[in-house]
Structures are given as C-alpha cells and as structure tokens.
Assembly symmetry: D2
Homo-oligomer: 340 residues x 4
Amino acid sequence: MSLNVGVIGAGRIGKLHVDNLRLVPEIQVKSVSDIVVDHLELWAKDKQIKVLTSDYRQILNDHEIDAVFICSPTNTHAGMIMEAAAAGKHIFCEKPVSFSLKETEAALSAAEKAKVKLQVGFNRRFDPNFRKIRSLVQDGAVGAPHVLRITSRDPQPPGVDYIKTSGGLFMDMMIHDFDMARYIMGSEVVEVSAYGAVLVDPSIGEAGDIDTAIVSLKFANGALGVIDNSRQAVYGYDQRLEVFGSKGAAQAENNRPTNVEVSTAESVSKDKPLHFFLERYTQAYIDEVSEFAEAILYDKPVVCSGFDGLQAQRIAKAAKQSLETGAPVLLDQVSRQAAI
Amino acid sequence: MSLNVGVIGAGRIGKLHVDNLRLVPEIQVKSVSDIVVDHLELWAKDKQIKVLTSDYRQILNDHEIDAVFICSPTNTHAGMIMEAAAAGKHIFCEKPVSFSLKETEAALSAAEKAKVKLQVGFNRRFDPNFRKIRSLVQDGAVGAPHVLRITSRDPQPPGVDYIKTSGGLFMDMMIHDFDMARYIMGSEVVEVSAYGAVLVDPSIGEAGDIDTAIVSLKFANGALGVIDNSRQAVYGYDQRLEVFGSKGAAQAENNRPTNVEVSTAESVSKDKPLHFFLERYTQAYIDEVSEFAEAILYDKPVVCSGFDGLQAQRIAKAAKQSLETGAPVLLDQVSRQAAI
Amino acid sequence: MSLNVGVIGAGRIGKLHVDNLRLVPEIQVKSVSDIVVDHLELWAKDKQIKVLTSDYRQILNDHEIDAVFICSPTNTHAGMIMEAAAAGKHIFCEKPVSFSLKETEAALSAAEKAKVKLQVGFNRRFDPNFRKIRSLVQDGAVGAPHVLRITSRDPQPPGVDYIKTSGGLFMDMMIHDFDMARYIMGSEVVEVSAYGAVLVDPSIGEAGDIDTAIVSLKFANGALGVIDNSRQAVYGYDQRLEVFGSKGAAQAENNRPTNVEVSTAESVSKDKPLHFFLERYTQAYIDEVSEFAEAILYDKPVVCSGFDGLQAQRIAKAAKQSLETGAPVLLDQVSRQAAI
Amino acid sequence: MSLNVGVIGAGRIGKLHVDNLRLVPEIQVKSVSDIVVDHLELWAKDKQIKVLTSDYRQILNDHEIDAVFICSPTNTHAGMIMEAAAAGKHIFCEKPVSFSLKETEAALSAAEKAKVKLQVGFNRRFDPNFRKIRSLVQDGAVGAPHVLRITSRDPQPPGVDYIKTSGGLFMDMMIHDFDMARYIMGSEVVEVSAYGAVLVDPSIGEAGDIDTAIVSLKFANGALGVIDNSRQAVYGYDQRLEVFGSKGAAQAENNRPTNVEVSTAESVSKDKPLHFFLERYTQAYIDEVSEFAEAILYDKPVVCSGFDGLQAQRIAKAAKQSLETGAPVLLDQVSRQAAI
C-alpha cells in the first residue's frame, strides 16, 4: 500500500512537510504547486518531485494523487478544502482552517460529505511530552482534572508585515494552545476571559495586535485553565504545560539541546530551550504526517480533525472578543454568531 | 538594646510566634493573652512567659511592653491595632488586617498617627526563593516584567467550620499571593478577573465558598499576571512563582525535605514538596519576627507594612466581586466603595 | 559526489548501519554480505540492496564500492581491514578492532599504507551531551581537567554465551568508556588500576568474567579518572559523565523519553532513562556514518581513528591485567608486550 | 532531665558547638576551656558560660559536668578522652580521634571501661540527604548494594600551615568520606587503592601532601566503591553521593541557597552549592549535639561511635599507604600494624 501526495504551497512549512513526507516509506510526494515556481525547480528536482506546477488544480485533477497538503495562505484554505474534497482527495490542512467560522464549517461539511480524511496541522499534539500528559489524564493518573496551565512563548516576534495578516495573536499563535487545552483536558472550553498587552514591541500595537496575553478558560467538565503567551522570550522557545487534578499533577518542561550542566565560579548553568518550533517539534512534524498516512491507509480516525480545527478557531475568536469587550465570552455565543 | 513583647492570641500561629521570638536574642516574650488561659499554664511556664492573662488590655497597659503581636481572630485585629497604637506599642498583626477596608484604613491611620511600627504577617515575603526573585526583578535581571505566574496550593482543605468564618478563599488563602504579586512586581494591581470553582469538596461550595480559582491581574506598569489556587494538592504544599520579562525569566520551585533521587525498575522519583506552611516557611517565620525587631530597634521601615496589608485585602475584595459579577473589576472601584 | 558502500555482516549492528546509511543523501548501500544470506533476501530487497552475497570478497572486489562497513565478529575484523585496505576501500570497523594488540597494529599499518580512511565505531563520541563536554574541555571552560568520572551501566546483561566470546567486560563494555576518557580529556591514559566483582549473576563469574567494575585512571596530563560499570541497572541504560577542573565542572545526565514530571500522593517521579543504546544513541549512530561519509568526500580526518581503537584496546588490556594481578598497570608495559 | 556540658577548645568548631548546644533545651553549657582565654571573655559572657578557664582539668574535675566536647588539636584528643573517661564524663570528640591507631584504640578502651558514651564528630551522618540514602539502603530499596560513589570537594584549600599539621588529605578531609562509606553501605571496607595528585596548588605538594585524590574501595559484602576529593572546587562545596544496587540507585545532589532558576539570552542558571561545611551542614551540626544529648539522657547508642572513628582512621591510613606504595592495601594489614 502506498500514497501519492501533492503539496499545495511551498513556503517554509510546505517544504518542511515535503522533507518529512519523504521519510515515510508509504508516501511518494508526486506533485508540488505554488503561485510562482521558477525558483523551486532545483529544489523540486533534488526532492524527486515529478510534477511542479503553478496551478494547484493540476494536483486536484490528477487521479493518481491520493492526498493533498494545503500549505498556502490561510485565506485560501477553506476554498481548497472544498475543492479537494470534491475531487475525492484526503486532506491535510495547516492551521488555522480559516479566519471565518462560517467558512470553516462549510469546509468541514464538504469533507464530511465527500468522506475524505481531513487532518488539521496542530503539530504539538504529536510532541512526546504533551502526548504523555494527555495519556496520564486519560488514564486517570492525575484524577479529575482541576486546573490546566500552559505557557507558550516564541523566541522572537515575526515581522510586522506578517503580524498584519496573521489574524492576530489569538488566531495565529495561541490557537495552538487552545487546541492543546482541548487535547489535554478531553473537555470543551465553554468560556474564555482574555487580557492582552503590548509590551514587546510598540509597532505590534500600532498594527492593531497585542504581543503578550493571558487567557483564562472554563471547561465543560468544570475545570479551569490559563494560557500565557509572549511573542518574545529572549532565552528561547518556551513550551510548558501542567495539568493538576484530584490525584496529582503532571508537568512538561522545555526540551534542551543537551542536558549538560556547567558549574563555574560564576554560575551553574544548563542549555537554553531548543530555539524554536523547527527544533522543538522536529519529530512531532514527522509523526503528524506519518500518522496522517496511517489514518488513510488503515482507515483510522485522524489525531487532529477538522472539528478540532474549528473549535480552536472558535476559542480564538472568543478570546479576541473578550479582549475587545473587556468581559468574559461564552463559546456558545461565538458559535451562534458564526452561524448567522 | 532589647524589646519586651506581648502576644495576643495563643492559637497555633500565636504559639509559633512565641517560639520564634525566643530565638531572637534582642527579644523577651514577657506576656501572652488569650480568651481562655487555663490550658496554657504549663506551656507558658515552659516558655518562660512571665505574664499569662485572659485580658489583652493588661498587655497594652503594661508600660514595659514595647511591641505586641496580634494573633487573635481576624474580626478583632483592627480594633486591637487602634488600641495598641493608642498605647504606643509597636504592632505585628496577622493577615488579613480585617474583612473591611474601612476598618483597615482606620487601623492604619491610628498606627500612623501614633508613629508606631505596624507590620502585617505576610510571611512569604521572607522566603529565600521569593526574596531572590524580587531582587532579580529589582536589579533588572529579567528586564521590564511582563508576566507573573503564581501557583499556590494547600495539601488539604481546612474544615468547613473554618471555611465559614475565613472570609473565603480570596481573603483567606489567595491574599498571600496577592501580596506576593505586589512584592515581586513592585507595581500596583489595577484590575482583576476571577474564575472560581468547587472541585475539591462540595461541602465547601455549600458553605458559600470555592476551593479552586484562577485570577488574572493587570498591573499599573502594564504587566499581566495570573494566580491559581487549590485547597487540595494531594502531593503536598505547592508554592511556585515565575516572573517573565524583557530580559528573561526567573522561577522558584518547591522545596523538598531532601534532594535524593531514587531510580528503580518502576520509576525515578524524588521527595514530595515540604508538607505545609510550617515546614516550608519555617525560616521565613523566624525572619519575619527577627526583622520586625530590627525595624523597631534601628527605626527601619518594616518589610510588610499596613498599607501592604490594605492593598492585598483590596485585591481580595475585587477578586470576590469579579467572581460574583462574572466581570473584571478595577481596583479603583473597590477603593472608592470602601471609602463610603 | 556520492559513495557506494558495502556492509560486511548483517547482524543487529550491520542492519542498523544499513538503515542509517540510507538516511545519508550522499550514500548508496550497494552490497551486503553475511555468512548465511537466505533469511536476508526480503530485508535486502526492502532496503534496495543491489547485491546480497555470502562472500564478502565479492564486495571487496567490486570496483564500484568506495567504502566498507565491517560488522562481522571481532575475530574477523583485523584480517578484513587488511584485505579492504589492500583493495583500496575506506573502512568503518566496529569496536573492538581485535582482541590482540599486535593484530590491531598490523591492521592500522595496512590502512595507513593504503591511504584509506579507517574509522572505528565508538558511536558515543557523536552523542550531543558528550560532544558538548568535550568542547567545553577543549575551550578551557572547566580549566585544566583534574578529575574525570564516567558511569556506564547496561539495563541487563547479555546471555552467558555472548559473555564467553565477548573478550570480557573491559574489552566488550568498558572499552567504550576508555575511548570516552581519552576523547574527553584530550590526554592519554598512562596507568590503570582495576577492581572487579561478580554481583549481578554468578553465571557470569562461572564464565570467567565480572559484571561490576571500578577502574581508576592516571592521565599523561596528571589528571585522575574513574569509570564504573555494571552489567545490570534495573532502571535502564545509565550513561553519565563528569569532568572537573581548575575552573569548574561539566556533567552530562541521562536522556529520558520525555521530561514529564508526575506528582501524586505517593511520589514525584519522572521517566526512567532511555532503555538501551539503540534508544540513547539513535542520533549518534546516524551521525557517525554521516560524518564518515564527509571524511571521505572532503578528505577530512575521521572523528574516531584506528589509533583511537588501538588505544582503547590497550587500556582494556591493562585493566584486565590489573584485575588479574591486583596491582596498577602502566600502559607503557602493555604497549611493549604487544610489540613482542 | 538536663545535662551540664563543658567544651574543651574554643576555636571555630568549639564555638560552633557552643552555639548549637545552646539550642538544645536539655543542655546547659557550663564551662569552656582554651589554652588562652583572655580574648574569649566577652564571647563567654554573651553565651552565658559560667566558667571560662585555661585549664581543661578544671572541667574534668567539676562533678556537675556530665559531658565534655573535645575540640582541641587532634594530637590532644586521645589523651583527653582517657582523662575524661577516668573522670566519668560522657565524651563528644572531634574527628579524627588521633593520628595513631594505637592511641585511638587505647582511648576507646578507656571509654569502654568507664562505661561513658563516646561520640565522634562525623557530622555528615546527620545530613538529611545522606540519612535518607542510608535508610533506603537499610530498607532494601536499592537491593543489595553493588557500587558506592562519593564526590567531596572543598571550595578552597586551607593554608599550607594547616596542611602541614593536618595529617594529610586522607586523614583530614577524605576521612569524612571513609566514614560515610561505612555508614551508607553498612559493611566494612576491606581494601583500598589510592591515586593522588597535586593539581590545585604546588605548595601543597611541597608540604608533602596531595590536593586531588581518587580512592577505590572493596567492602566486606563484595561491593565496590570510589571516592574522589579535591581541595578546590571553584563553584563551591561539592558533596554528592550515590549508591547503586540490584534493585536500583539513590543519589544525593548538592544543596543550594535557593532553587530559583534564571533564564536569560545568555544562559539558564541556578544557585551554586552552599558555600562550605558551615552552610551545608548547619542543621547536621545541631542534630549531632542534640542526638548526643539524647543518647546520654535515654541511654541510647550514639550515632557515630568511637569504633566508627577508629575505622575511618584505619581506612585513611591504608589509603596513605596505598598512595605511597602504589599498590592496593588490605585493611587487615593496617590493623595488624597498628596493634604492634
């Protein structure tokens, strides 16, 4: 059994997926599309890509293609999901699915009708630390979960140009943590309350966004949670998580390049955390495509579904609304508004 | 130079102070009062207490007494501060100063007019871990502070009878963390937003209180913070803190009885945290009375003033109001209401 | 530029090298030989091996082959090195090069004359933790090295049949640590003093070997060192190292599957170390073949030379002699004996 | 019940014991002697010492005195033990008991005949980390012990004048670790093999001593051990220990002033170890005198007996002999020599 895959969008994340897909024995990356492809020819040859095209529809129309990876800009995701579903292709879509709940719902509905797999790219679900914590929660090792704490800080902010089209901190960055919250707790978020600030770079504020945030969560099972984000941790990518419950707690620390400890007259020091997501989530990125292949080949549920993508987006939207109104927001309200 | 001290209230904390005061060379504990004293006679003799009385005014009227420790129930604190101030005694008062901001303000005003020292018993300010973090913040080692995270969990809840008269989780338990927030950040809290839940014990809910809470904070300097509390961490007293800023982060871990690590076929394990506040803050309790003595003898400012007590109380009140209304509360509003 | 490689010996380590060689873009594994090959056909096809043969000389005679991996039993290594050198092939040889210093010296001499690269398979030199410590020592971060401590314990002993042909604990197991000692300290071992015991399994003693050992080392630079080995650590593969010097110390801890810490009423625990060498040194095994390829393609020195193999073997021999005589042994003496 | 204590020798350690004895409710420090006492008068008054004398016999002849602390130079210990025993006083003697096994044996014999308690000042036995490891070994938590590793490094060397009269590194410094080895393993040392070097300061070598050493041990139960010492660890007092056995391992880390971790763009660092023995063993020094009092008052065995002192001394002597001869030394041989 084997899968022919086409990748739509060959930016940083698209190229990363190509590299990782090539590590999965069952997968051949047959085709890659991007708006401009001239600069990609050597790269594509080196990666043994058979088809390099500026028209993603060429991929969708290729009956040899089993699955597509949608790695183009966010505003194209929903439309492409619908087209790919119509073409009967299984779909891996980068996060977020869209900036509009309505669009996302339409895309999900299309995939469902077409009975194709749809996996959303929340890569952190595949990190061994977080997976272990999820297992501990599911196995009851910490009892009924009471409190979730997530810290997620990037080593440096993206450029302001990126910020402007990113959908904002909640949709672009904390959306990973919203998904993680649901993944770990096994319970839906029912209310959010957001605090935000511009402390890292005033130009982020001028672009209408925030760079620092704390969001409190209420879960359907009664538990509480809190996520803090910063666009800039000078010591590196800070990705920690803790769940506390009736029978105990489980916490995940940062990963570091080595575990060497150095003691001198000045200090006792160890490595800083792995620099950023490419270093920290190297294996998780591989595992998410490898398990996507498994889901298709053995008809298993995907680890991160379209619904998971929708819910994370909904929480992000609620957080944004809470920040704007200065009051907690019920997820149900966001849901209803989106339905309009 | 030496100080004669009287202790008002010989419950658990009063007795603890007596033991610690006896370790300070400059201090003699001359007198102890409590409502009922019969059962205290042997104890007092053993501690070389000269005067054991059921009338605290006997202490206040004793012109040999330089300072009093108010360790009686909270509803008596403010009145006793005023009486002690009128008698010219320096005052150490357990937290909280009162349940009413108006009463607290009156008590502070009395102490100020009488020009006596007034120290409030936020013992955690004297913990070496937290003191080091405060120093790091003040020295600029973490740059401008952006985010504060405090976790504070008791090993087990007090009895429901205690809960009923405690003033509630925010006033009884999280008040320590509110004080810590101001102490670490060196900036006033201007807004709070509280989430609470009853997850540990339904009878706490029936008593009108919560046992689990997450409170978000906005500081005057623009920074954000979050505190989580639980009345029950089965693994022991969980007291951690982290401050994150433009130049880095500093975090304090739990203290443990030993640092021994045991590796077996089953697991790699270490000691649980020190069980509760008596174990964790042993030295902090000693240092708070020793530095109180220094403040009097060398006319230095106290480490934790009456105003500090007032502010913590104000934040606790705001948190309670936020929980009740489901909306963030500005500290200024609480302040104004209290003035009425 | 690219390299055709042949692998001699398709046991566990030979197969591992095949998998890792296939990850190196510049390398094609063209041929594999083993004494019996019938059971390897499916495997070889799956790995896209063109030539599968029971005659290793077929590989040596293939002029397309640039380099060979010698993964056959130890008693065949030296002879094959000489044949491969004569055939002008670059050589990667598993450790130990042989059980006889004379044979090893002859093999080294043959490779040198033939001007082929010879790398010995001390994979731990490529572990990121140990590499970092070596760099720290070389950069002077710990000053002049004074004391080296290495702990190296296997999760469980091999079968007694293996033990009998293994060359003994010093030649089979501690030889890795002898190499590590030279690698880290950048100085030759001049004297060893060995203590050994049978504490894990009496049948190991009956086979004439020990299962527990402590060996002290003197280095040419005046520093001291100690290595402890056990054939059985029930908690997993224990691989730690510390170097202490005039300006400080650097220590490497074990690696673990995750860094999750779990706190319950019973204990605070974390993962056991990665189980054994395949898990712990996964990346090191990849890097040693990838850097071997680089050494050939860019004519760079190999990270672990034939001389390194010889020296480790010499120290192992000295340790064995020390154990037998109950007295310290000078390396020079071993060297001289070997020359006879 | 209470004890009157006299302290012989008011140098650093004598004064430390006075302070700690004053913390034990059952003890009064009645008398202190030293060769010269003029400079001690204010100090003695402040400590409420009734008798300050330059003649230690005044203490021995005082029938109110129950126990003496011998804190004078080592060459006076054995004689004073004999005199104190003859006077019927319980005895706490600083380590080492003497530089001569014969003298030590005579002193022990005198104490035994007089039926007085004799405790030797190996304070580290009272350290909570090491006590926990001892308990784990005794309770079988690590199974049969196989390997013991002790690291013990001072922050800086004493002056050369001190070195000259210290008895050498083994008798002055590593003697603590020899005692610890017996304490942890619950088994006698039967053979030692010593390596030593002068790496810290050439003037230590010129004084006939070493400053760096590694000593391997064989125990009566078949287990092996190793101790490394250095007179100078620039990062502070390094006191670690690990025992490894058939069911697992237990290791004790250094203690630090705080557990705060600081992450910046440069590094992730924590506190250096507590600086030296006064900081690291503060509580152990208190507990050793408090438990000595208990042993007398309740007629319990002392935690560290005269025999323990003798054995540590014997191992130190064997280590010295091994260093001088370059060969392992059996303890039995040392014992026999001493009997001559």
